[in-house]
C-alpha cells in the first residue's frame, strides 16, 4: 500500500495564510469594474431574463379617472415604441435603431389606483415583490405620487413619478429613487404670474377653492406667493373642501360668490374641477369675477367646453399644439393620434416622455442597475423631448423643462375638436426652478 505523500505545508499554515490574506484585503485596491456589483432592489434579479418588468398604476376610477386613462395610454404607446424602435424611440441618440432596451423587451402591468394611495401602494408592492419590477411609474394625484416614491425608496426600485404637481414631491418628500417631470406648483405659479399681471392686472383681490391635500395646499401657497409678491394681489382666503368626498360645492361657492373678490382661483382638479366650475357658473360667479386654474386638468376643455373655459388662464404640463413648432412633439402627437384617435393630453405626455428619459438613462448607463441609472439621470444630460431640452437636477430630482401657460379658446377660435387652448407663453425651465429646492435634502449616496 503506497504511503500517502507528506506535503510540506500543514493545514495550520494554510489557515494562518488565509487569515493573513483576509486581513490585508481592505488595503488592496480592486478596480470597481472587476468587483462584483452589489444587488440593489430588484437588480439584478429583475433584469436577468429576456424582458424587464415595469409596474404602472393609474386611476381608472374616481375623480381623476379621465386623466388616468390618458396617462395609461401614454405608457402603452411609449412601451410599444421602445419595444419596436418607433416614435421618439427612433430619435433618442442613446438607443435609436434598436428594439427593446439593452436587448430586452419591456413588459408592464397596470393597476387601478381608484385615485387613492392605498390601492396604488398595494399594487406597486405586488409589482415590486412578485413581478420583480425594475422600475415603477404612474400616478395622478400627489398623495398617490408621494406614497409611491416613498415605497420605491424603501424597496430601492427606481420610480419615474407620473402626474404630481405638489411642491413636496421633489421638495420635503424628495427621494433618491424618484424623479418627477411635471412642473411643481412653484414652477407653474412662477410661470403663470407674469401672464396674469398682463391679462388680468395688478392689485386684484383673489379667493381660492382648494382640495384638502398636499397638491391643493401647495398650489394655493405658490400661486398666492407669486401673485402677491409680483402683482400686489391680495388673498381673501380659501374655501377648502374634502378631496374626493363631495360633488356639491354650493356651500363653498356661495362664500366665493359673496366674497367681493375679482379673481376666483380654482385649484380643484379633474372631475372636481369640472363639477365646481359648472356649479360656479350656476351661482353667477363668472359674471362677477375672472377664473384662473393654476394647473388645468387634461380634459377640462373637452368636458366643460369653450363656453366655460374660454378666456380662462392656467398652466399645463404640455398641450398638443406644441407639435406645430417642435418636431419631437409632432412625432409624439401624430403617433398618439393615429393609435388612439384623439390628440394626447398632458398625462399621456408625462407617461410617454418619462419612459423615454428613463430608457435614455438606462441606455447610457448600459445597465438596469438603479445606482448607475440614478447617476446618469443626476448627471444632467440634456435630452430633446416634445418640450425642447429637458434634464434633471441632482439636488431635488426635479426635471428642468419649459412650462406652457395657456388660455382657453372661445368656440369661434377653435380649429378642430381638440383645439381648446392657446399657448400664450412657454417659460424656459431654468427661469422657474425653485432656488432653495423647497426643503429637499437629497442624500449623496444610494
Amino acid at each position: 500500500m503506497a504511503q500517502r505523500k507528506k506535503t510540506s505545508v500543514s493545514r495550520r499554515r494554510v489557515l494562518q495564510g488565509a487569515a493573513a490574506a483576509a486581513g490585508t484585503l481592505p488595503f488592496i485596491h480592486v478596480p470597481h469594474s472587476l468587483a462584483a456589483e452589489e444587488a440593489i432592489g430588484n437588480w439584478p434579479t429583475g433584469a436577468k431574463g429576456s424582458s424587464v418588468f415595469v409596474g404602472v398604476t393609474t386611476p381608472l376610477t374616481g375623480p381623476y379617472s379621465a386623466d388616468g386613462i390618458d396617462h395609461l395610454k401614454g405608457y402603452q404607446l411609449a412601451i410599444e415604441h421602445l419595444n419596436e424602435g418607433k416614435g421618439l424611440a427612433a430619435h433618442v441618440p442613446s438607443f435609436k435603431g434598436k428594439k427593446g432596451l439593452l436587448g430586452k423587451k419591456i413588459v408592464y402591468k397596470n393597476a387601478d389606483t381608484q385615485t387613492q394611495p392605498n390601492p396604488a401602494i398595494q399594487a406597486q408592492t405586488n409589482f415590486i415583490t412578485q413581478d420583480k419590477a425594475i422600475m415603477i411609474a404612474g400616478s395622478l394625484s400627489s398623495a398617490v405620487a408621494i406614497a409611491i416614491e416613498k415605497l420605491a425608496q424603501r424597496y430601492k426600485v427606481l420610480n419615474m413619478v407620473g402626474c404630481s404637481g405638489a411642491n413636496e414631491t421633489t421638495g420635503v418628500d424628495c427621494q433618491k429613487f424618484a424623479f418627477r417631470s411635471q412642473p411643481s406648483a412653484y414652477m407653474a405659479a412662477k410661470a403663470l404670474a407674469p401672464v396674469l399681471g398682463k391679462e388680468i392686472g395688478r392689485n386684484k383681490k383673489a379667493i381660492y377653492l382648494v382640495p384638502d391635500y398636499a397638491y391643493g395646499h401647495s398650489v394655493e401657497h405658490s400661486t398666492g406667493e407669486f401673485t402677491e409678491k409680483e402683482l400686489g394681489w391680495k388673498s381673501l382666503g380659501s374655501q377648502v373642501y374634502p378631496f374626493g368626498k363631495t360633488t356639491d360645492y354650493s356651500s363653498y361657492l356661495l362664500n366665493i360668490a359673496n366674497s367681493g373678490a375679482d379673481v376666483f382661483v380654482n385649484v380643484a382638479f379633474g372631475g372636481e374641477a369640472v363639477a365646481s366650475i359648472k356649479q360656479a357658473k350656476q351661482f353667477g360667479i363668472f359674471d362677477k369675477m375672472k377664473m384662473v386654474v393654476p394647473n388645468i386638468s387634461a380634459f377640462q376643455g373637452k368636458e366643460l367646453g369653450p363656453e366655460y373655459m374660454g378666456g380662462v388662464y392656467g398652466t399645463m404640463d404640455f398641450w398638443w399644439t406644441l407639435s406645430e413648432t417642435n418636431p419631437m412633439a409632432k412625432i409624439f402627437v401624430d403617433t398618439f393620434h393615429a393609435k388612439f384617435n384623439y390628440r394626447p393630453s398632458w398625462p399621456a405626455h408625462i407617461a410617454y416622455t418619462q419612459m423615454m428619459v428613463w430608457a435614455d438613462a438606462v441606455a447610457r448607463a448600459k445597465t438596469f442597475n438603479p445606482a448607475k441609472v440614478i447617476a446618469e439621470l443626476e448627471a444632467g444630460h440634456k435630452l430633446q423631448m416634445p418640450l425642447g431640452e429637458v434634464w434633471y437636477r441632482k439636488e431635488d430630482h426635479q426635471q428642468v423643462r419649459a412650462v406652457p401657460v395657456v388660455v382657453g379658446k372661445t368656440k369661434a377660435e377653435m380649429r378642430n375638436e381638440d383645439d381648446f387652448f392657446k399657448i400664450v407663453g412657454l417659460t424656459p425651465g431654468p427661469e422657474v426652478m425653485p432656488p432653495d429646492f423647497l426643503g429637499c435634502k437629497m442624500p449623496t449616496s444610494i
Binding site: T61, I69, P242, T246, T247, D248, N255, F283, F299
Partner: protein
C-alpha cells in the same frame, strides 16, 4: 327614498342603488343630446332605469329573496359594479355635461345672496315627486300592500296577495326613483360612471337616521343629513362626513330603529 322602499318592503339591501342613479343620469344625458329637452331627459332617465330595475329583479334579485342578507349584499354590489363598468365601457371615463334646462339656468337674487334658480326648481320637483310617491304609498291599493309588506311580509303572503308581482313593482319603483334622482342631480354635479358612489353611502345614512322603511323617515333623514353636511362644511369641510356618521351613531345609540322607524321591524 327608492332605497328605503326596496329595503323596507323587500328586505333587500340594494347596493346597486348608486349605479342605478348613474344609469339614470346617463339615460337623461343621451336623451338630452338627441332631443334638447330636459323634460324628455327626466322622463327617459326614470323610465329607462325602471326597465333596468325590472330586468334586474326578474333576472337575479328574485332568486335572492330567501337567501341571507350577505348574499343579497354581494349580488347587488356585483350588479352595481357591472352597471358602472358598463357605463365606463360605453361612454368612457370623461365627465359628461348635462346642462340645466334653459328655463332654470339663471340666478335669483334672494337679497341675502344670489342663488341658482335650478336648485330652487329641484326643491319643487323633489317635493312634487315625494307628494306623488306619498299618494302611491298611502292612498292606493299597491301602497297598502307595500306598507303591509314592510310591516309583516309573511301575513301579506298568507292573505293571498301576489307578493311576487308586488315585489317586482316595488323594486322597479325604487330603481325608478334612483334613475330620476340621477337626472335631476346631473345639471348640478357632472355625469360620470362613479357619480353614484357617494350618493349610495349618504342614502344609507339617511335611511338609518330616518328609520328603515319609513316614508317620513327618509324625508326628514334626508333634510337632517343635508343640513349636517352643509353646516359642517361651512365650519370645517374635512369634518362634514365625520359629523354625518357621528349623527348616525347618536341616532343608533338613542333610537336604534331610527327617528321614524318602528321597533322590531324585520
Amino acid at each position: 327614498m327608492g332605497l328605503t322602499v326596496i329595503f323596507g318592503a323587500l328586505g333587500v339591501v340594494n347596493f346597486a342603488h348608486g349605479a342605478l342613479y348613474a344609469v339614470g343620469a346617463y339615460a337623461g344625458f343621451v336623451t338630452y343630446e338627441y332631443t334638447d329637452s330636459f323634460v324628455a331627459a327626466m322622463a327617459a332617465g326614470a323610465i329607462f332605469v325602471l326597465i333596468v330595475g325590472i330586468v334586474i329583479e326578474r333576472g337575479l334579485i328574485r332568486l335572492y329573496y330567501q337567501r341571507p342578507p350577505e348574499d343579497q349584499i354581494l349580488v347587488t354590489f356585483g350588479i352595481g359594479i357591472v352597471l358602472v363598468e358598463g357605463l365606463r365601457a360605453i361612454f368612457g371615463g370623461l365627465n359628461r355635461n348635462l346642462p340645466a334646462p334653459s328655463w332654470a339656468a339663471s340666478i335669483v337674487n334672494l337679497h341675502v345672496t344670489l342663488y341658482p334658480i335650478y336648485r330652487i326648481d329641484v326643491l319643487v320637483i323633489v317635493a312634487v315627486v315625494l307628494a306623488l310617491l306619498y299618494v302611491v304609498l298611502y292612498r292606493t291599493r299597491l301602497g297598502l300592500i307595500v306598507r303591509a309588506g314592510i310591516e309583516d311580509q309573511l301575513m301579506v303572503n298568507i292573505l293571498g296577495i301576489n307578493v311576487t308581482r308586488t315585489f317586482l313593482t316595488v323594486f322597479g319603483l325604487g330603481a325608478m326613483a334612483a334613475g330620476f334622482a340621477g337626472v335631476i342631480n346631473a345639471p348640478i354635479v357632472t355625469v360620470s360612471p362613479d357619480m353614484g358612489a357617494d350618493v349610495l353611502v349618504q342614502s344609507f345614512v339617511v335611511i338609518v337616521i330616518g328609520g328603515v322603511g319609513s316614508f317620513w323617515g327618509a324625508v326628514v333623514g334626508g333634510l337632517i343629513a343635508g343640513e349636517i353636511l352643509s353646516l359642517a362644511a361651512m365650519i370645517d369641510p374635512a369634518y362634514s362626513d365625520v359629523m354625518l356618521f357621528a349623527a348616525m351613531a347618536v341616532v343608533l345609540i338613542l333610537r336604534p330603529q331610527g327617528l321614524f322607524g318602528v321597533q322590531g321591524r324585520q
